[in-house]
């Protein structure tokens, strides 16, 4: 036996909290420019988990097959000692194993941010009907899925597909003309697509374009997460603050999303450059002035999403400015005017910390708002109300004026909710049922005997499959409860049409009862008046109705004069109900009325105005469930067409 080996073991150690992995901070192209090369690498701290080669973990599985090349690339083993010892593989464009490491690290960071904001574990959306709606433990990531300038989340396969492509030969930006651009190496693209998957896990009807805002919200929200995730990385932030002397509104890399992706496509600057643009004449970057009319003009989902990003970014800036006002006064002896030249490193450090705190707050706010959105047909106005309501639930007292900042920023971008009396925070908050209805519900709710049992145990340590199974069971109980006669009678409160006289365009079950679905049951944390943490139950209930482009056909189907047949579109309704488990009362009921003719007309108009170019030959994607909404959304960028009839 070699002498240097000992048989005495130390006490068992706990696993480390994090695994450190190196990634590109932006994308590889910045490494080729001298001024950005130093900040283009960063080390992410990913929550520690047992990993198999792939990497394959609890949430993700990276499977590197490349069908276009008919190749596979060996799966990286992040537990390999050389890799562990050096905080992961060196960033390298030509090494597929590094690509696998990077998509894993960035996607896990995004997941971690969601779990932290929501205080519960995240689930992917369940598999489709053909797979028996089974539980999907892991999102699959294909880093080299196709040869095109495209990257998308596939709701059908529960997978992220990243493309690679040669950079344009005429306008390659910072890329090597003809050199290969990998979308999976763009930090923002990975965070963006992961967010699509996370959002789909919460709201699987948000992928259906039922109004001009639904897909735009998906795109905008994904950009928001990517953007504010950047702001939470201190080293890059310090560098930016030094460059911009604390003024984050001026040109900076952090705000320009998806640099490489956009440049390689041949358009100058970033593809989704939400916050400003480069003046063609002077070559100088100028921030976008808020224009309330812009939202009326923008139709394409990315363009509309950019307006949402800009509004949230404005809110972030005013929060940041209010937080650093005192620091600037201290540093400038009360003048608030910074002297020429570089600012003091201590001040840079303090400003960076304030910026990170503001960013983290805004990111949390934006993610938490998802629990307060209607389950279907969401629009930007709904999202604003959800933001304000969710923030009030977490921070009852708005003494820093964050909610005002958000409302003001949205107002300046022309985003208003429908059907509210004023833009005060109080009137923007969602309301619950009032008076007799509230009373009726309060009496009926205990009918769900297991209501408090339903309160799922979603803490961050529970097995995710168990959580999912419990959700299914709770959903069935609530479904049965809704079918009981006294509850059916007041189902209109939930935006549902459950009575026998509901329009016959709503599908029926074998007993002739309109079909509906309990979409989701999950807990949401909130802070009570005396500071204790309370749990609400979020219940999403949805229903669908056949919609037709021709109003006379709609009327005939509604009345049962002709058999329904294939619809031109599906109108979905329903609501998100937040139940206070301790008081047994409904706090909010955020609904989209099923029987609303106004909604029907609006969706008909939208459907007509937005027929996808591929609809002529490949069928309208909205009529079919078997489509990839994001694949075509991104491809359409290349074949933009004018609306015709």
């Amino acid at each position: 036996m070699p002498s240097e080996t000992s048989r005495i073991k130390p006490p068992a150690r706990r696993p480390p909290p994090f695994r450190k992995l190196r990634v590109y901070a932006y994308d590889p192209s910045l490494g080729w420019q001298i001024e950005t090369a130093v900040i283009n690498q960063m080390t992410l701290q990913v929550p520690w988990e047992e990993l198999k080669p792939g990497p394959v973990g609890e949430y993700l599985e990276v499977v590197d097959v490349d069908p276009a090349s008919r190749c596979c690339y060996a799966p990286v083993d992040l537990n390999e000692k050389f890799i562990l010892a050096s905080d992961g593989l060196d960033p390298a464009e030509g090494d597929p194993q590094f690509h696998q490491q990077m998509v894993y690290a960035v996607a896990m960071t995004t997941i971690h941010n969601f779990e932290r904001a929501l205080g519960r574990r995240v689930l992917w959306s369940q598999a489709g009907a053909a797979q028996g709606y089974q539980f999907v433990p892991r999102l699959r990531i294909y880093p080299h899925a196709m040869r095109e300038a495209n990257a998308y989340y596939s709701p059908l396969k529960k997978a992220l597909l990243f493309g690679y492509f040669p950079a344009s030969t005429s306008e390659a930006g910072h890329n090597l003309p003809g050199g290969t651009v990998f979308t999976c190496l763009s930090h923002d693209v990975v965070a963006h697509e992961t967010t699509h998957a996370l959002l789909d896990g919460l709201h699987r009807r948000f992928v259906e374009p039922t109004n001009g805002d639904t897909l735009a919200l998906h795109e905008g929200f994904a950009d928001i997460v990517a953007l504010f995730q950047h702001f939470s990385f201190a080293p890059a932030l310090r560098d930016q603050i030094r460059h911009t002397r604390g003024d984050l509104a001026s040109q900076n890399l952090l705000g320009q999303l998806a640099q490489q992706f956009g440049q390689a496509l041949g358009s100058r600057g970033a593809l989704r450059d939400a916050l400003g643009e480069t003046d063609k004449a002077t070559g100088k970057w100028i921030p976008n002035e808020p224009d309330p009319a812009e939202i009326q003009k923008a139709r394409e989902p990315h363009a509309r999403g950019a307006i949402l990003v800009a509004a949230v970014f404005d809110a972030f800036l005013s929060i940041y400015k209010s937080r650093i006002a005192d620091l600037l006064r201290i540093a400038t002896a009360g003048t608030g005017v910074l002297p020429q030249g570089e600012i003091h490193p201590d001040l840079v450090e303090r400003l960076a910390r304030e910026a990170a705190a503001s960013a983290s707050h805004v990111l949390t706010m934006c993610i938490r708002a998802l629990d307060h959105c209607p389950p279907v047909d969401v629009n930007f106005g709904d999202y604003l109300r959800a933001l304000v309501t969710a923030d009030r639930d977490l921070v009852p007292d708005d003494d820093r004026g964050y909610r005002i900042a958000v409302i003001e920023a949205f107002r300046r971008r022309g985003i208003y909710p429908q059907g509210v009396r004023s833009l005060s925070a109080e009137s923007l908050c969602w309301a619950g049922p009032m008076g007799a209805e509230a009373e009726a519900l309060r009496n009926l709710l205990p009918g769900v005997k297991s209501l408090s049992r339903i309160r799922p145990d979603w803490t961050l340590t529970t097995d995710r499959r168990k959580i999912w199974e419990q959700t299914q069971k709770s959903g069935r109980e609530i479904h049965d409860w809704l079918l009981s006669d006294p509850v059916r009678a007041i189902a209109g409160n939930f935006g549902l049409a459950l009575q026998a006289d509901a329009p016959l365009s709503i599908p029926r079950d074998k007993n002739g009862v309109p079909v509906f679905e309990v979409h989701s049951v999950r807990p949401a944390r909130r802070l009570g008046p005396d500071g204790q943490t309370l749990t609400d139950l979020v219940i999403e209930i949805t229903q669908k109705r056949r919609g037709y482009l021709m109003p006379d056909k709609q009327a005939k189907v509604d009345k049962g004069q002709i058999p329904p047949g294939e619809p031109d579109f599906w109108l979905r309704g329903g609501c998100t109900v937040l139940v206070d488990l301790d008081r047994g009362a409904v706090r909010y009921c955020i609904g989209k009325g099923m029987a609303s003719d106004i909604r029907l007309a609006a969706q008909r108009k939208f459907t007509l105005a937005s027929i996808a170019p591929q609809a002529v030959y490949f069928g309208d994607p909205r009529r079919r469930e078997q489509t990839e909404p994001f694949a075509m959304l991104h491809r359409e960028l290349a074949i933009e067409e004018e609306p015709l009839v």
């Binding site: 090349s69 699959r140 009839v645």
Partner: protein, 482 residues
Amino acid sequence: MSDPSALMTAPESGVKVRMYRQGLGDCFLLAFATGTGRPYYMLIDCGVLMGTEDAADKMRRVAESLRDSTGGRIDVLVATHQHWDHLSGFDPAQARDVFDQIEFGEVWVGWTEDPDNELAGRLRARRRTHIQALNGAVQGLRAAGSGGKAGALESVLGFFGDLGVDGKPSKIEAALAYVLGRGKPLRYRAPGELVGLPGSGARVYVLGPPQDEAMLLRSDPSHKASEVYEQRLQLTQEAAFFAAILADAPVETLIDKETRNLSFPFEEVYRVTYDAGKGDPFFQERYFGEPGKPPEEDWRQIEDDWLGAGETLALQLDSDTNNTSLALAIELSPGGKVLLFPGDAQVGNWLSWQKLQWPGEGAGTVGAADLLRRTALYKVGHHASHNATLRAQGLELMERPDLVAMIPVDEQMAHRPKGGNPDGWDMPFSPLLTRLKEKARGRVLRADTGAPAPEDLDPADREAFAKDRIETPLYLEITIPA
């Protein structure tokens, strides 16, 4: 050999317009009044969609009727664009021998068919490469087990007829070449021209195809750089995609070795072949499944996803070709009624008309908007699909109370499932049809269902409209007085 009683006469003034009913495809015969007693005959297109039953018999009956109705001489033949549903009649397997019996005067095609035009040549080369690659994509999808997607894609390629192999012209190219060869003389028409029809007072304003490449390729911003297809593919996005599709094809002329090698994302040392991957436990468990067994989660495989880009390419190819349509506005008398024959022009073609100006009566000028306002007959583009009739700068400008619309469509054929697209094609597009009926006060003639029912017409129009038209199983005909 022709039957004199079958002759199509011209009205006292103006024109008779006959739409043949061969199915989903265009064939229009126009007889203009002249002073001589013999009408001036114009034929616009003659084809039917690939896959139509008894296509040859149907097209022969049409061609025989064309021969007999014109006494065997057609003064001008207009071929709008290179799609099978507009030209199939000239194929030897359909009715070419009947056309051999007809004497043609002029033949008009768009400048995009001119072999000496440099831009036109580039467009054609591009089209050939795209067709070839897309055929490869169809094969690839079949091999990946996605017969549905393959069928949907193939149905779009059907517009080009069968593909020529080994550099020989395809059937559609051969049909067009035949048409070009019959012209005495052959005229390549370009937008901005104004051509009188001899003997009649009618004049033809040429609207499209646009000569501005950007307009022609509108819907394809990535091709502003025109050097891309000049000779051989450089490593562009499409080239990388095509290189993958044509991986097994010996098409060195299209994709050279170096391009093919560069199109791989990684150096050879990193590449593991599919065969090796299928033998590896990791890829078996996560992707391929064990030998002989389908993988547990086969629904998550991505074997055909990368071919989805083919759908985009097919759409581009189709709309690019539709945009090469020779679009004509035929004015019956100076400042009078206009017949609008846009071929299958799509958005870029329609928009380009706005820039055109012709000298008008006196000091004024004539623009596209004026011609649209005076339109009395609109041949609805692309079988009334949603993407070939411009709204604000198109249909909404047509304001004559006596507007008539003719739709060469076969709804049943269009709605037939196309591969993985169970609904088929939405032709006619119902909101467009509804608006056409409103604008034309019910005077919408469809090749499939014929003339409108009396109750669809304004009571005041019924009698006059019935008097103006003829309906037979073979064609629908309407008189437009000058």
